[in-house]
Symmetry: D2
Subunit: 481 residues, 4 copies
């Protein structure tokens, strides 16, 4: 298995076609906007080799028999599910930033299961192909990123109904040896920093959408694959900050690797095609992908909230009020809100179902419950943390001021809190709160696993059932026809 | 194992000393206020013999080798915990009323574990005694009710500090062959309908509270044991209603068996004493009892909410608007809120811990999270259900009016909803909503497993920990001393 | 102006056709279910003569020049609106039960305005007729009750589309000297205890609903007017309780006068008809009626919440924990929630609009905001109050037990709280909380002024406006066509 | 009265001592971080001359008889209060950024009232001095900024108890002609862009804090007055963005003028001292300042939320789902939440009280209710808006990418939404949402008018009163001693 440094060397070699702030960036690895995210992805390799964590960060593959990185591992038991949720919480406790590799993990499991089903039904050979692909990934310890969400254009229209047919990734040419695809995937976190891109459809498809029912793998760096990087507020900050002002000094701006990924007529050879026109599998892929994304958010989000609690505790100490009852109350509330998210996700693992391929998928309803709580509760947690923090989380002068010979002394003197804590520690903690609160989480929160309405639809379908009505009927002594 | 009918015959024989509305009631079994609750307790026997449910409602005892009622079964595995939560949800789906026997179940498990610990530490023989007691209970399929909550007087004072020393149950006389106890236990649901009362302390005790550190079993009907029944609104209703107006026609007014249980100097023989002065065990008993009470509420409450969803669906149909988006949205919300409670309780089972005795207790933090959600979410569910229902849930004329030859016809005509549903069905469903919403749940909700603050204390202790602060420190590059 | 006693004498004379629990009740005035409500309605007369309150409880009529009861007063200024909201809060502070006369007040103002508009448009003489009616009401200090909400049947169908055409009150015969009406009005609080019934349509009507566009006044006691009384849980209680168990000992069960009011072919003479076929006015009547109902709820609900705060304070004292931070926090929260309701209602008065008739109606959006908060916040307040109260709010034995020579002593001893408060006071306070929490409010809360969705529709129509989009466009430098 | 351009010329002349990112900035007026805020402050002058708004943006001074900018106007009537709240909503509708001048307005009114009271009590001449100061401000149309919040160090210690006595601004030297002050004020929005700084204490003071009981005015640019600018995420953005990426293109980063303001031994002449040692007045100043700050937030916050509604409507259109019921529901909710804040603030104005000086101050309880709702509801609104927006609010590439000849075409093609809206418009709107959601509001929200706990204390003091307990006592028939 690779070290983080080896992985970084790989990416340096790949030289993906990346644009940041309107410029082609050859050396993406050392770009200040990208580095923090790269630190996180590199840590997914290093943690797997850390004896303290390898138990949770790796697993024994059913395909190659060896230990593999857990992000490349198939979820073949209930414990694999529990483990993933717990791993994500542990991860966030240490990193407080996206692990980036979860979408790949969802696509791996989703396609393993779906290709199995399609082959069973249609006599195709997708599953065999996919197993070969996955074995290679596991053996060479590659970082696979999923290409999921299409840009979608007019949301009320299907792929083939759009004014521009390219608003969902599609096959534009069919050759003997493969297909040519065109389109773009949005919000691609870490794709530019990966070894392989694994593309799946992002919408339930109908018969007329056959050209959109395409799943495939493609090495990062392939010709025609272009990344236009996002520019979020934390990306702006990354251009100015060196240390303190990053807040989370090593991993800050963790979505710094997020991009619009364009497929400008990219050729995909047959052996890397895992679905091709089988529109009926799109629904299963969507549901399974979503369940998993919601499930690990149930570990991630509480993990970040653990950090918020710690940061709130620290600020209360710096402010001299670590025992103020309203502070304790707010911290307790964050703890309550975090465990509620976690609890539903764990219950989702408990009530998993097993696909014919053997992959275990968590209960969709409970995972949607967890995700919906994640959205609601995380905002509450931000509000409470910022309220404990007060104005300085937002009005802190820069690290350059703090290091300035002319005005640094004023910050040192006037931003001092309670003894014995050094001023700098207090400043750093406010920056952590600022960047955790303001930043990348809104996207992950609202986008990863789908928005609030997607959760509600899943819950609704499983809540409003005739069985429930019969319970009420029985209690009033009515037979109900 | 007994049938429900055999159990009722037992209680008829016991003739406990019961007062209802200021009168001594000899035939408690047939009293209209008591009958619905008795229907529920009798069903705990019948369900154990129903082949459809016996798997979940019974278990194989480690003590006697036979199948025993699950309420009398020790929780000796994680699956025993899951099973209990699921059983409670199933129970509420069918009964929508308290199963009454959970407090006994908590006391059985709590004392089994605590007597084990005390004996280990002190060389006493409580555990052996208790095992004998429990074997007898299991063999004879007895209903054990716990006597837990003392009346407490001034909450800011401990038992021995009260103006009246009897405000917590205590030993007032010590004899060679046993002790005499005095005091009262509040909110005793079902005690008057049980075979055995199992009394435990309800507060963390200090050295000066030795006389209060008393646990024992006593057969219902023992001299000096007096019940003064509560009179709730549903109890008032039970005096007027025969059928429709009970709402939940068989089990309504499920707390109809709740009483103030007075110990007017009751003698307890040595072989039925399970703690006597070991104040240190009070804390463990309290915590374990509370964890369990909160855990099964995590099955109960969602089970009732399933019924509320069904009732809401039915009312929407009767009103002709089963597909109105605001109705679907409200029902979905109840589903979401119920699963969130359930999820945390299930996670509490997953992260259980094993006492030296082998009894499995769920994670206290997650159970408190579940219980706190139960309180919050159930009010939301009531609000939403009543909002779907509208005014008729409250302004419905009585069943006597409906059956009246003079005005029944007007109700038949004017309370008709959408076709093809009969008016009577609609009336019955409104009554179900009224009684579910207004009634017994507030007590169970706020009292069972403790009030909101009790949950928050449990969560607080496990949330605000130095480890969390260290997570934040690490992220800002601070060593933290 | 009448005294409360004179008013009661009036009702005794009227002998309305009332059915309670399936029986014709001749002496409705002394019926235990009715008395508490009658105490409240009688107090609307007495308070007007109390020098301490007459300023707020009466006003000078523009029609007859004299002081009149404020419930019979037209809202002709912004101060009249403020005054009404403040009066309702004062009322609830003293009575903690419905004043019953608000719907009449809404109908008076609504018809005064609508008849004015209709006459202007159509040259009819409804307004003149109505002024005559109102002058008589004011001069003779009569209690006018509105008949508003029809029974409605299938909510997805209009009045004339129902399987049974009588599910909305309608004209079934037209004579030279008047009309004959048939139908039923639901949830008629206090109608049976009034002097006059003022009937208005309860739905927006279309051209084919002409027979349903009927407004009229009819004296209580008129032939064909039949009341079938609701039987709520508090009504059940009223049959059992004499004093303590009523909770709110004088006014408890305040909706004890609520009935299904049937019009079994009732003749209405021409001079008492105020609308007859003018379907277009139904929308205005609905909107104005609803705005007012929501507005005074903005005084009522916080007024009840003030009482809940007081009761919570008292219980905390009886329990010995008046300064516990979690108790103070909960009471503060109730205060916050109550003022939020009140604030929006007051703002609704500030942004009132003036109808051509001179009647001032509050801003519909702000009143709906207040009402929606009322629903949400009142449940929160109940939850918090019951949580402070704990189990005894639900498990208290009856007043008969407390007065029993056999077991009263046990209650006296064991239900004692902190010194120096007498046990009885504590028992009474728990009963107050029980009855305030469990009882009549759900109906008023969800029904009065309409359910949640009705509020949201009002808010939606006034929130999602093109002007708002233009604000956003301007900020991003877009002209927006 | 000045134009905005004249005001900017004034500031250019003043050349305040400003540090940004560790560098002394001479030309603060043209700095990209400062300009947007300066645009807002300049608009406070221009709007006063706009005939469309001058009615609301100016008022006739009681001191000089002329029209003056409303920010310099004393609140001498209830209408002045209403007007201010409405003005702030109108302001935010147009600017969606801080008006910056409200703290000055609060200090002006607070000191006018407090100096009046102190003079009455002590025979001092502060009020006369202050009136002279204010007349000059009004005549010359100056922008007065308040210096309020001290840096505070250890929050559990008073000013004179701190390890460093300078952590609250204090007198370090007393001369015949004035005093020398030292210390620092935090979160000084706009101070560096003002004509005059009006300093008041920020804490309730005791006798030993006499040197901290100092209020004075000082012209911006005075020697020893040093500003160290904050560096928030929007400040980072302002360094990168030129147009689109500012979101709110003219006023974005509205807190770009916020600084730590250091008094490095600044001399204050006697005629500009308005309090000097009168510790008792600190409480009144605090309370009045806070009430006003909370009151106008009651206009501001709903004003921003109006813009969020508009932005949400626009995004829904661009996404092709303007009528989706979940979108309408979310927008309605934001409308509800905004009006609730507004309503309480307006009610706060209605129940104002008049200080002996004639200044009208709003009701503290209702203003705290409004502010607390502002905090809670604004987070809800952000959550809902971002949920409507989805991932692109966070993952949008930069304006430089959009304008790049190489990759701009991909953004044009793939970020297109529904017809007929141009891609650029959609991109701009996402940027508006991003910057409104992530940015300056957290500080204003949690800091302006105090954090959540400050609101709760105000509410608590006015909620938990003996009168409330007496209401409950009366209802249960208890005299209550």
């Amino acid at each position: 298995m690779k070290t983080g440094a080896e992985y970084i060397a790989d990416i340096r070699k790949i030289e993906p076609c990346v644009y940041i702030l309107g410029e082609r960036v050859k050396n993406v690895v050392d770009h200040p906007i990208v580095r923090p995210t790269l630190n996180a992805t590199a840590y997914t390799f290093d943690i797997a080799q850390d004896p303290k964590y390898s138990n949770v960060a790796t697993a024994t593959s059913n395909l190659i028999g060896d230990r593999v990185n857990r992000f490349n591992h198939l979820l073949l038991s209930q414990d694999d599910l529990y483990n993933r949720v717990e791993f994500m919480r542990l991860w966030q406790n240490q990193v407080a930033a996206c692990a980036v590799r979860c979408t790949g993990s969802a696509a791996i499991n989703g396609l393993y299961a779906s290709t199995y089903d399609v082959d069973k039904k249609r006599g195709t050979e997708y599953h065999k192909r996919f197993v070969e692909f996955l074995k290679n990934v596991q053996k060479n310890d590659l970082f696979v990123c999923s290409g999921m969400i299409d840009v979608k254009g007019n949301r009320s229209l299907g792929p083939s109904e759009q004014a521009d047919p390219d608003l969902y990734v599609r096959v534009v040419e069919r050759r003997k040896d493969g297909v040519v695809v065109r389109g773009a995937k949005a919000h691609q976190t870490g794709a530019a920093l990966s070894h392989e891109i694994l593309v799946v459809p992002s919408r339930v498809l109908t018969e007329k959408d056959k050209d959109y029912a395409i799943a495939f793998a493609i090495p990062n760096g392939t010709k025609g694959l272009i990344y236009i990087f996002q520019h979020s507020l934390l990306d702006s900050r990354a251009l100015v900050a060196k240390d303190i002002d990053l807040g989370n000094i090593k991993y800050a701006s963790s979505f710094g690797g997020t991009a619009l990924m364009v497929f400008d007529d990219v050729f995909i050879p047959n052996e890397r095609i895992f679905l091709n026109g089988e529109v009926e599998s799109s629904q299963t892929i969507m549901r399974n992908f979503a369940s998993l994304a919601r499930m690990w958010e149930g570990g991630c989000r509480p993990g970040v909230m653990d950090v918020l609690i710690g940061a709130g505790m620290a600020i209360a100490e710096y402010n001299g009020i670590p025992k103020a009852s309203h502070v304790l109350e707010k911290l307790t509330e964050i703890g309550y809100l975090g465990e509620a998210i976690f609890g539903s996700a764990i219950a989702g693992c408990k009530y998993c179902w097993v696909s014919p391929s053997g992959v275990h998928f968590p209960d969709p309803k409970l995972c949607s419950v967890s995700k919906l709580q994640a959205i609601h509760n995380f905002y509450e947690a931000l509000k409470l943390t910022l309220d404990i923090g007060g104005g300085l989380a937002m009005t802190m002068p820069s690290e350059r001021d703090f290091k300035s010979p002319e005005v640094g002394k004023y910050m040192e003197k006037y931003l001092k809190g309670a003894d014995p804590f050094p001023t700098e520690q207090r400043i750093r903690m406010f920056r952590l709160i600022e960047t955790l609160a303001a930043g990348p989480d809104s996207c992950a929160l609202h986008h990863g696993g789908g928005p609030m309405e997607a959760q509600r639809i899943t819950i609704r379908q499983r809540t409003i059932t005739e069985e429930k009505k019969k319970l009420a009927w029985a209690l009033i002594g009515v037979d109900g026809k």
